[in-house]
């Protein structure tokens, strides 16, 4: 016989969980006691539950393992909600275990009680409230299975305290069958054939891919497909790294801050192959404008509800991206002739020659320059976690990701504060790889307490704070659409970040001149390789992110930097 708490820990061991990110509290005391008695699973004590979930999320994003977070009832669970919703929007597999008040107290407004299952319901793939100790093993197995199959997502398992104290026999199920959940893997062969025929006849094709390629580990298959077809390819923010960014076939990121060549190719193509992506508002802008140009659309996605949600598609293929791509490659093996697309490439090169990512040089530190130097110093091999805002877009535009799972960013929910916890999760999952957290003076303060966690676990993260003393992205919108009325976007009373980093026991370096950027980065990544270094970089205050498609506009209605200079 084992207690429920022992069973929870045994289940995590069976799932080969290496790290649990969490924060103890009354309802999870039994579970924490069992954690204490074993040494297979390492627990990472964060300073706020939101960070526990973000760090677990980063473990999934950067290593393909399912991240696990453990929080207590009530405020522990509500603090975790932002992290859960962030993972949900980006389809990141995650298991969050929350304590709950004892079964007999539920509904009595007990101390630290909240309806965790009710609160998290709209932002999880699924959730469970376990009311019987005999259900723990099965439910944990289901939680991992649901989180990591089909379109992945977070699963919450809520366990009342008395259930963790009750006893029963333990047997971990090897397999789980659910009559109500059978995700599709293989795509429809007829549809795949139709898609391949369409691709071979295309005169102005574009391949547009998203996070689904990264999640299904299909980057090699995608690269093979692009090589075989010779088509231009663009990635969404979530899809970066799915195709090598330094390859000439890569048009850059598309969407609101996408390149001219990517956005115009999207708008003017005759056949669009969309893979593991969902045509969201930041990617295609106004769907009416997007649909005003006729083109054939092939859409590959594991989630049927992503297909024809915002844009009508001609050839829907529901299936796991990697399996579908493998089948496409097989059909292309016998070298059928394909249409000549050299004229289309010429047109694209014309757009590319506009060099839309060129930025003005200045005596001040240009934030774009910092990212370019970061790429150089890390030879493009670092894991880059970002927060949300201008620095996030510059990182996406100027750091060329050649490999998947190195780019960690909150795409769907756009959660400020993820950067440092993401870097923590990524650093633990990839101890041999340099990890940079590119952030801003606004975002970093949303989870800055995690500097303490990073110290406790000796994580050599490099924080690149693009400090413009503004909430830059909001300020940019106010400049462009609100006649420069900078309402509440000036960050007054900023802390001295160098001293702050030092107070937490880290290395802090302030950078105020352009010529100091590269030496400071080298110092951080080479001399202080094993330390957490906080680079507080005073950048040009009113630099803007270009190109830009204003909200509600079409992809062809880009605002370019030139007009701003």
């Amino acid at each position: 016989m084992m207690t429920g708490a022992e069973i929870v820990i045994r289940c995590l061991q069976e799932e080969k969980v290496e790290y649990v990110f969490g924060y103890p509290g009354g309802s999870v005391l039994h579970i924490y006691d069992e954690l204490f008695k074993q040494d297979k699973i390492k627990h990472v004590l964060v300073r706020h539950e939101q960070a526990a979930v973000h760090a677990a999320d980063a473990m999934s994003r950067s290593s393909n393992k399912v991240g696990v977070a453990l929080v207590t009832s009530g405020p522990g669970a509500t603090n975790a909600v932002t992290g859960i919703a962030t993972a949900y929007m980006d389809s990141i597999p995650l298991v969050v275990i929350s304590g709950q008040v004892p079964t007999s107290y539920i509904g009595q407004d007990a101390f630290q009680e909240c309806d965790t299952v009710g609160i998290t319901r709209p932002c999880v793939k699924h959730n469970f409230l376990i009311k019987d100790v005999r259900d723990i093993a099965d439910t944990m197995k289901k939680a991992f299975y649901i989180a990591n199959s089909g379109r992945p997502g977070p699963v919450v398992v809520d366990i009342p305290k008395d259930v963790t104290a009750a006893k029963c026999e333990f047997a971990y199920p090897q397999e789980i069958h659910m009559r109500s959940y059978n995700p599709v893997v293989r795509g429809h062969s007829g549809q795949i054939k139709k898609a391949v025929q369409l691709l071979l006849k295309a005169k102005r094709p574009v391949i547009y891919t998203g996070g689904g390629v990264v999640l299904s580990d299909a980057a090699p298959e995608l690269t093979a497909l692009v090589r075989r077809l010779g088509f231009p390819i663009t990635n969404t923010l979530m899809g970066l790294g799915g195709y090598p960014a330094s390859d000439p076939k890569f048009l850059g990121m598309l969407g609101m801050h996408g390149t001219v060549e990517a956005n115009l190719a999207m708008q003017h193509c005759d056949v669009l192959l969309a893979i593991g992506t969902r045509f969201d508002d930041r990617v295609i802008g106004n769907p009416e404008n997007f649909s005003s140009v006729p083109r054939k659309i092939i859409h590959v996605d594991i989630d049927p509800s992503s297909i024809s949600k915002r844009v009508r598609v001609d050839v829907p293929i529901v299936g796991n991206v990697r399996d579908v791509l493998e089948e496409m490659l097989k059909l292309l093996e016998d070298n059928q002739p394909k249409a000549d697309i050299s004229a289309w490439w010429q047109e694209i090169e014309g757009w590319r020659s506009k060099q839309c990512l060129k930025y003005r040089s200045s005596d001040e530190i240009m934030p774009q320059y910092v990212i370019e130097k970061l790429w150089e110093v890390t030879r493009g091999e670092a894991i880059v976690a970002t927060d949300v805002g201008q620095h996030q877009m510059w990182s996406a535009q100027y750091y060329k990701f050649d490999t998947p799972r190195r780019w960690l960013t909150s795409g769907g929910l756009g959660t400020m504060g993820v950067g440092l916890p993401y870097a923590i999760g990524a650093s633990l999952a990839n101890p041999d790889r340099a990890v940079a957290c590119v952030t801003g003076d606004g975002s970093i303060q949303m989870c800055i307490q995690e500097l303490s966690t990073a110290k406790q676990f000796g994580l050599p993260i490099k924080i690149i704070n693009l400090n413009n003393r503004y909430l830059g992205m909001v300020r940019q919108w106010q400049e462009m659409f609100y006649s420069r009325r900078y309402s509440q976007t000036y960050m007054d009373s900023l802390p001295d970040f160098v001293k702050l980093a030092e107070a937490y026991g880290h290395v802090g370096i302030r950078v105020e001149k352009s010529e100091d950027v590269e030496p400071a980065l080298r110092k951080a990544f080479v001399e202080h390789k094993d330390d957490l270094v906080f680079l507080d970089i005073r950048t040009c205050r009113e630099a803007n992110v270009f190109p830009m498609v204003a909200a509600g506009k079409g992809l062809s209605e880009m605002i370019l930097a030139d007009e701003d200079l």
């Binding site: 709209p122 659910m178 109500s180 049927p304 509800s305 949600k309």
Partner: protein, 163 residues
């Protein structure tokens, strides 16, 4: 367009709120919703009447299918089907109205299932529009209370929704 969607759902705590929550979160409307366990007590059968363009209905069925507790979804109104709704209506039945109310109940094939000196409770089944017409056919001032179950639906002939 009006659609009748039938769902087989795991009969588990919270499963219904997942369905209801999906409709409110995504801005779909529910005209009526009925739910009860089936002959297999581990399964519930839901009937939802909703309306929307073809695109919206397509999304509703896809999103419902995504819920882990949902076993099967079918749009009944896509083909031949039956729909029935039950209404209990309490009416004033005294004096000259008493005989008239009895006659109306007979015409609509309703049953009077509760009788007092001044009131009847009439039980009426049929399509929603039949129940509407009954309400329109009698004197509004005589209606004391109505309660309707919402639509239950089933496919005709060989159309069977089962695990």
């Amino acid at each position: 367009m009006r659609h009748i969607i039938s769902i087989l759902l795991e009969n588990e705590a919270g499963a219904l709120s997942r369905v209801a929550g999906l409709f409110s979160a995504r801005g779909y409307n529910i005209e009526t919703l009925t739910v009860a366990p089936t002959e297999d007590p581990s399964l519930s059968r839901l009937t939802i009447v909703t309306s929307g363009s073809d695109e919206v209905i397509e999304q509703i069925t896809k999103q419902l299918n995504k819920l882990i507790d949902v076993v099967k979804v079918v749009d009944l109104s896509e083909a031949a089907h039956l729909e029935r709704e039950l209404m209990l209506i309490k009416v004033r039945a005294s004096g000259k109205d008493r005989e008239e109310m009895k006659r109306m109940a007979d015409i609509f094939r309703g049953n009077i299932i509760d009788v007092t000196e001044t009131t009847y409770v009439i039980e009426l089944t049929g399509s929603g529009s039949k129940l509407d017409s009954f309400i329109q056919a009698i004197n509004r001032d005589l209606i004391l209370e109505t309660v309707r179950t919402g639509v239950s639906g089933i496919g005709r002939g060989d159309r069977i929704l089962k695990v």
